[in-house]
Symmetry: C2
Subunit: 361 residues, 2 copies
């Protein structure tokens, strides 16, 4: 059995006993029941993922996977493909938005070259080469990659997740870089959710309305090749991207290792959709960080049944939303670990409050 098949068949449901325990503990804390809103749901999910009441989520790591896309030649992006490699160099030099946001979140960064046009040469400990080629083929004219590359991209992602967890990473956040990758993500989202291109396509990092019309037409022509109810790997090979496959693999690998994964924006959502089709249970290990203005975001979130923590009108990618969500996720876990319960807070506070709060009013 392939690593992909083994992985998908090994992913377990969340731990219902740990979730019940978290729910019950949540209601013993010195606050009205449910008053911490979405944070309480995240804390219960984290307990179900890890089997721990208040997982410490040590060494949170933002994995930014970069690759190029042949479809960039169709003028679907505001930027030429060469910018992908330039931005990766910026990541490795520490000067990009994601570096700043990761520092603010006390998170490490790992930059992966999944297939940038110009190979990235770096001996930085922040860098990992997993090249599947100098970018995908132009998905307008034929498959973006071979079936073998599609499987391989996912399996490499699984191994990245395994290695991260083995090195002590307890929270994985996803990011990406790849000029034209909103086109690939829109193709995948349209094909996997069976929505028309026009509903899932937007300006990406900033093309004009006229260019969006052209982008929609490119996507429509590409997905016309894809049969109804396609297999997930068919969608990836026909219209995907190396980084999208690898990100889906990281989701699957993290789920096997019972490690929470933070999903960023549109491209990582397309990866999560792919992971969902390969193994529906993997999505329970995912936390959605941000819903941006790209129209496919909400469609993907709905399909995945995920509610994003943030809506900050970001349209940068790189994992910027995921990095910003890390402190919220850690706060959710720390609440369960550090807040006083009615029983633990000592007489002056707890015993007087308990009967009042316990009335459940």
């Amino acid at each position: 059995m392939s690593l992909l098949d083994t992985t998908c068949s090994t992913i377990q449901p969340l731990d219902p006993a740990a979730m019940d325990q978290a729910r019950q503990h949540q209601d013993r804390l010195t606050k009205p029941q449910g008053a911490l809103g979405d944070l309480e749901q995240i804390a219960i999910q984290l307990a179900g993922i890890t089997g721990m009441l208040a997982p410490p989520l040590r060494r949170p790591t933002l994995v930014v996977v970069a690759a190029d896309h042949g479809v960039a030649a169709e003028g679907v992006s505001a930027y030429p493909a060469s910018v992908t490699a330039q931005m990766v160099a910026n990541f490795l030099a520490g000067g990009a938005a994601i570096n700043v946001l990761a520092r603010q979140a006390n998170a490490d960064v790992l930059i992966v070259d999944a297939g940038v046009q110009t190979p990235i040469i770096s001996d930085s400990p922040l860098f990992r080469a997993e090249r599947l080629g100098p970018g995908t083929a132009n998905l307008l004219h034929g498959p973006a990659m071979s079936s073998a590359s599609a499987s391989e991209s996912i399996e490499r992602g699984i191994r990245i997740a395994f290695d991260l967890v083995a090195s002590g990473v307890e929270l994985i956040a996803l990011g990406e870089m790849g000029i034209a990758n909103t086109t690939a993500a829109a193709c995948m989202t349209a094909a996997l959710t069976e929505n028309p291109a026009s509903l899932v396509t937007g300006p990406g990092t900033g093309i004009s309305l006229e260019q969006v019309g052209h982008k929609i037409s490119v996507i429509e022509r590409a997905i016309a090749r894809i049969p109804a109810h396609p297999a997930a790997l068919t969608v990836l090979s026909e219209v995907g991207g190396f980084e999208i496959g690898m990100l889906a693999g990281i989701v699957l690998g993290a789920a096997v290792r019972r490690t929470p994964v933070v999903i960023d924006g549109f491209i990582t959502l397309a990866a999560a959709l792919l992971a969902q089709r390969l193994c529906p249970g993997a999505i329970h290990y995912c936390i959605a960080a941000h819903c941006g203005s790209e129209p496919g975001n909400q469609i993907a979130l709905d399909q995945l049944n995920l509610r994003p923590l943030l809506r900050l009108n970001l349209r940068l990618g790189e994992g910027s939303g995921a990095a910003l969500a890390i402190p919220l996720i850690r706060a959710a876990a720390r609440i369960l670990g550090e807040m006083a319960t009615f029983g633990s807070a000592g007489v002056d506070v707890a015993l007087k409050i308990e009967p009042i709060f316990a009335a459940g009013s």
Copy 2:
């Protein structure tokens, strides 16, 4: 001239030159223009407030002001007034939600007794006594406080802000604790925005629908005493709270000292409305952290022309939303201070990218 009058007449507009500089610098950073969405607006505001391109926002401090409310006797809350003092003890012991959230945000906490029923006795360095009495009078039957107490509560808040800034605090976040204070806040919001009670009143920390109806009727009867187009201080003395006046004072004091203030939820929004009526320019120093489900939240935010950073369905108060927003606000400032510009990033990245990004597409 009183401290309040002096303060209001001293508050200056934001620094337009610093804001322009921040805007221009934002567009030189290695990202598409505007791609960091709401964070960019916050960064520009912070520059206008402080006069600095990337203010370090050292020693962020969450000020939680607590007081009791005579109107609690009307059964408008799920909890009796005694819970206010018990929760303040919990804050001082470090076991409340706000203590955990402040730790996660690397923020200090200051707990202020503005008039809790049972005086808080503590020699904790986290505590400050500013008692104006053992809670307000029952606002249903007459003024909650005297005109003198109304002015005094605001002036004490101004002094708190001055002391915080003098001690090196560069970001002030607001929180509150006071059983029945959503009733006072709803009265003030209704009176100051000239909306009916039914539009601004909700379940607070958790009363039943039937109890909400009763709460609305209490609020309607209380605000019926208030004349049309009332003076801000009249609204505070008739239907306000000691903590709400003090929080408004902190906003004003912070604005004089050109220090950003993070507004939490419904009660702190009522304080911001009060500050706005006393000095409209003070609101430019405010950042809205969270919009909760209490219906008056959005009405107050609209009136203040503030857009909240978070919508997490919190209904705890204490400053929980403000604490969660602190890392986002620091991230916004750090972006301007730490990201590479096209000019600074070095040849490999910058000079190739510059002409592309600069094309403004």
